[in-house]
């Protein structure tokens, strides 16, 4: 696991049914591109988050492929429509096979 990878998400706690809500996510990750060299001229191996997904009550909301040019601490902001109360689950996939996830509940009235 890449050191210091820590997911953060911001989801409103409540919303009205059918509302479009804004979700913000960020994971701290160095996103080493694989294009850089160290002091001895050796290539520093690529180590990035390569995929990010968000699901709501088991239904996929967004599925993103990340490429090496994306900078440190990738941040996503997107909108989602929430028809009912439930839970968002967020998952980040690391090149080294690590998977980071976090979840947030939302109450729809």
């Amino acid at each position: 696991m890449a050191s210091g990878a820590k997911p953060r998400v911001k989801v409103p706690k409540t919303a009205a049914a059918g509302d479009t809500i804004t979700i913000k996510t960020l994971i701290s990750h160095k996103m080493e591109s694989g294009q850089r060299k160290d002091d001895d001229g050796n290539i520093i191996p690529r180590s990035i988050i390569n995929r990010f997904t968000a699901d709501f009550n088991g239904q996929n909301v967004i599925d993103v492929t990340l490429e090496p040019a994306i900078s440190t601490n990738p941040y996503f902001q997107f909108d989602a429509v929430v028809p009912e109360s439930g839970e968002f689950t967020f998952t980040w996939y690391d090149d080294d096979g690590s998977v980071y996830d976090t979840a947030k509940k939302i109450t729809v009235s």
Binding site: K6, K24, L26, T72
Partner: protein, 287 residues
């Protein structure tokens, strides 16, 4: 054309008489107001303290930034400086050094440090000199925790200062300049008005005489340090006060003082005092 003349004046550090330069500078502070997370009201404009002789009104550097940059600081989730704060929270609670103590063991919650950032640099009776927050952190690390000192402008240190600042956000900067701190303050003032380097620029030439103008593509602020540590979009990390001082002095093409040196401590006290009345903003977001 007016802009061009002004720019030339600033570059050559010729004394520009404002009366001779009609027109509105494009870099003047805007009228936006700052509230962080919708709850922490930040004072970004205040009457200049009496000892800030050549300014009538002091403005936070936030007011000189574009709306987009300003917005990043208005929400902690968007503010990348808060990642440093979170890193420091881990350090705060983690024991380090031979004494086996963490910051939290003595100080409790980080929130207990509210108000501390606002009054530093400050006279330290025990040491008989003015100390900065960084020096106090290292003082704790060396003498109470028996741990290795942190580098003055290093990442761990700057993150920790960001944490300590973050719990004071919204409180007015109020550093003491009288009593035993006075001679240090006067040394800082002397430095502020002393031209350095091949370009022969003093702090005042840019931040007092020319704030609101453009310095190449950037707006010159009044150079207050209420927003430090500052997350700069240009280097994507938190920057400490002394690192910024060093950058400024370097830009005048001078040999700089060292971060943590007596000169920069004095300058920090003086510059902080010029912003007495503005809110603590750190970690702020700037260009």
């Amino acid at each position: 054309m007016t802009q061009r003349i002004k720019a030339t004046c600033a570059a050559l550090a010729v004394a520009c008489v404002p009366g001779l330069m009609p027109g509105i500078a494009v870099g003047d502070p805007d009228d936006d107001s700052l509230t962080i997370n919708g709850e922490i009201a930040i004072v970004t404009e205040a009457a200049a303290p009496a000892h800030t002789e050549n300014l009538d009104t002091i403005y936070s550097g936030w007011r000189f930034r574009t709306d987009e940059t300003q917005a990043v600081q208005m929400d902690d989730f968007d503010n990348p400086g808060m990642i440093g704060v979170e890193n420091a929270m881990v350090d705060w609670a983690t024991a380090d050094g031979a004494a086996g103590k963490s910051c939290a063991d003595c100080h409790g919650a980080a929130e207990n440090m509210a108000g501390v950032r606002a009054v530093y640099p400050k006279w330290n009776e025990e040491q008989g000199r003015v100390t900065t927050l960084e020096m106090e952190v290292n003082n704790c690390r060396e003498n109470r925790m028996d741990a290795k000192k942190w580098k003055y402008t290093g990442g761990d240190m700057t993150d920790m200062i960001a944490l300590i600042s973050s719990v004071s956000r919204g409180m007015p900067v109020n550093v003491a300049i009288d009593g035993p701190a006075q001679s240090t303050w006067e040394q800082g003032k002397e430095l502020y008005y002393t031209r350095t380097g091949q370009l022969e620029l003093s702090c005042a030439n840019c931040h007092e005489d020319s704030y609101g103008m453009m310095i190449r593509a950037d707006h010159l602020s009044q150079g207050h340090i209420n927003g430090f540590p500052t997350y700069r979009l240009k280097n994507t990390k938190l920057n400490s006060v002394h690192a910024r001082f060093k950058g400024c002095v370097r830009d005048t093409r001078a040999h700089t003082y060292k971060p943590g040196s007596d000169e920069f401590i004095a300058l920090e006290l003086y510059v902080a005092s010029r912003g007495n009345g503005l809110s603590v903003e750190g970690p702020s977001v700037r260009n």
